[in-house]
């Protein structure tokens, strides 16, 4: 009895020690990971994550201080990719409800001040001084920086409209499957 307890304890302790040493020994330097993570991010430095730009978010991710769902413009796809990269499993079920947004200009109140397109990190807003601005939907990440700077509140975010091209079948209800 005692022998069994002792041998198992020794076995456990030595394995634990081995794992500990391995973790130290084969520790991956964070910088490489951070660089790779940053390369995966949209790079628009929009700041929606609350970190100082994409590099900040990548650093936080590598430190485990931010969830993989940190980047709203990246959406579910990026979250999954980040989870794969970091080797963690992430619950993305709540992510689906984060609707991608796109900015729009209410032309009747736009005064053509050009503040928004100076703020836009992706040059998605076109126009010129004293001209009504427009938003290139393809380039807009929905970061809301333009909304913040617009003096007349002519800019607002709205969900990306569903079209026949972007419509897709919903996921079959898992509730109906009893496994």
């Amino acid at each position: 009895m005692l022998a069994a307890v002792a041998s198992l304890s020794v076995l456990g302790a030595s394995l634990g020690l081995g794992l500990g040493i391995a973790a130290r020994r084969f520790h991956v330097e964070a910088d490489a990971v951070v660089a790779e993570l940053e390369a995966m991010m949209p790079g628009s430095q929009c700041g929606q994550c609350g970190f100082p730009g994409c590099a900040g978010a990548a650093q936080a991710l590598a430190d485990g201080k931010a969830p993989v769902t940190v980047c709203p413009p990246g959406g579910k796809t990026l979250a999954q990719a980040l989870a794969d990269k970091l080797g963690i499993s992430a619950d993305l079920s709540g992510m689906g409800e984060v609707v991608p947004m796109v900015a729009g200009v209410r032309e009747e109140i736009c005064i053509g001040c050009t503040k928004c397109f100076k703020a836009c990190p992706t040059d998605a807003i076109h126009g010129a001084v004293k001209q009504i601005h427009g938003v290139l939907k393809e380039a807009c990440t929905g970061c809301a920086k333009c909304v913040d700077v617009c003096p007349t509140e002519a800019l607002s975010l709205s969900p990306v409209p569903l079209t026949l091209q972007s419509w897709a079948w919903h996921r079959p209800q898992p509730a109906t499957l009893n496994a």
Partner: protein, 354 residues
């Protein structure tokens, strides 16, 4: 411009009508002749044991469904628990005591099925898990076989007496015990008797294969089991691949070994007719959940089951090896499935393409 209720329903908007309960029901129908013949052969104790085993399986299924919150009454009546209990009962010694059936049901339903996530999730054949658990835990009751005492024949216990045997059974009376063919040959071999003499001692000159000998219900009526299996084939519930591969996997090495050393090895015919091979080939190995999905995978799986059965029967300590063989091959199914995926249309080197 009313919105139709159906807009979220994906095609196809038709169904073949095949359901899980219909599949299970057909399999039970195919088992029925052999079961009834078994009841006739071994009398009331076998009927009581069957009822207890199946009943225990159903009760445990209900309990598990309640506990796990999976499915409702419809899931109970899909027949999978009933069928698993039925198959288990078919492999037990017909006069085994009641607790054998209950413990077997526990291993079958709770351990082998629901612990893995319920219907469709279990990697191992539940009935075979039940049988192996019993065989290893209680070798004596599991190897005490009764000689056929047909219903209504002299010496056959009535319903009350039969129930008494099953509930309070102090084992089979010595006068009625008898070894199975495989068990007898194995025992005699350890005493140094060769196969032909052992066979002659057990059977005399009587033919083998029509069930008039000791064994479980599923192994005695070989021809009725075969008929049930052919019925399943005709109903297209199973394909020919697994049964044929199982039978071939056992018969081919048996025939070769018998030809080389008839005194040491049973003939292919005896292997096919004795033991649980026929039931295993048509009803156990073909279990959909625990067998491969592709046709080539099924051939490999079946041949493995047959071959391992022959190996265990011929060289191992146990007289019968089908249950072990099935479980061992069950463990290989994910691997087999992985390496036997069919060639997708238009992939690889399609014949006829430029």
């Amino acid at each position: 411009m009313s919105t139709l209720p159906s807009s979220a329903a994906h095609a196809p908007h038709a169904h073949s009508g095949t359901t899980v309960s219909r599949v299970m029901g057909t399999v039970m129908l195919a088992l029925l002749p052999a079961t009834l013949y078994g009841f006739y052969l071994y009398g009331w104790p076998s009927i009581w044991l069957w009822l207890i085993t199946v009943g225990a399986c159903l009760i445990m299924e209900v309990a598990c469904l309640r506990l796990t919150g999976r499915g409702g009454p419809a899931t109970l009546w899909d027949g999978s628990a009933l069928l698993a209990g039925w198959l288990l009962a078919m492999t037990l010694p017909p006069w085994a005591p009641w607790w054998i059936g209950v413990i077997g049901a526990f291993a079958t339903i709770v351990v082998a099925k629901h612990a893995y996530g319920g219907l469709g999730q279990n990697p191992f054949n539940p009935a075979m898990v039940g049988r192996v658990a019993l065989l290893i835990s209680f070798p004596l009751p599991l190897t005490t076989w009764v000689r056929p005492v047909p219903l209504f024949a002299a010496g056959s216990p009535g319903p009350a007496e039969g129930l008494h045997i099953t509930l309070f059974g102090s084992g089979v009376p010595d006068a009625l015990t008898s070894a199975t063919l495989l068990g007898h040959v194995k025992t005699e071999a350890t005493r140094g008797m060769d196969v032909p003499h052992a066979l002659a001692e057990l059977l005399g000159s009587a033919p083998y294969g029509f069930g008039w000998h000791s064994g479980s219900m599923g192994e005695t009526a070989t021809l009725l089991i075969l008929a049930g299996g052919l019925f399943l084939l005709a109903k297209r519930l199973i394909t020919w691949h697994i049964p044929v591969a199982v039978l071939a996997g056992c018969a081919i090495p048996a025939a070769i070994a018998h030809a080389l050393q008839p005194e040491a090895y049973l003939s292919a015919g005896h292997h096919l007719a004795a033991g649980a091979l026929m039931q295993g080939a048509f009803f156990i190995a073909t279990d959909m959940v625990t067998s491969p999905a592709s046709t080539s995978g099924r051939l490999i799986f079946g041949f493995g089951v047959g071959l391992l059965t022959w190996v265990i029967r011929s060289f191992a300590g146990f007289p019968e090896g089908l249950a072990f063989a099935v479980l061992l091959m069950n463990a290989c199914v994910p691997l087999i499935d992985r390496f036997t995926r069919p060639r997708i249309y238009g992939h690889g080197k399609p014949a006829g393409a430029r």
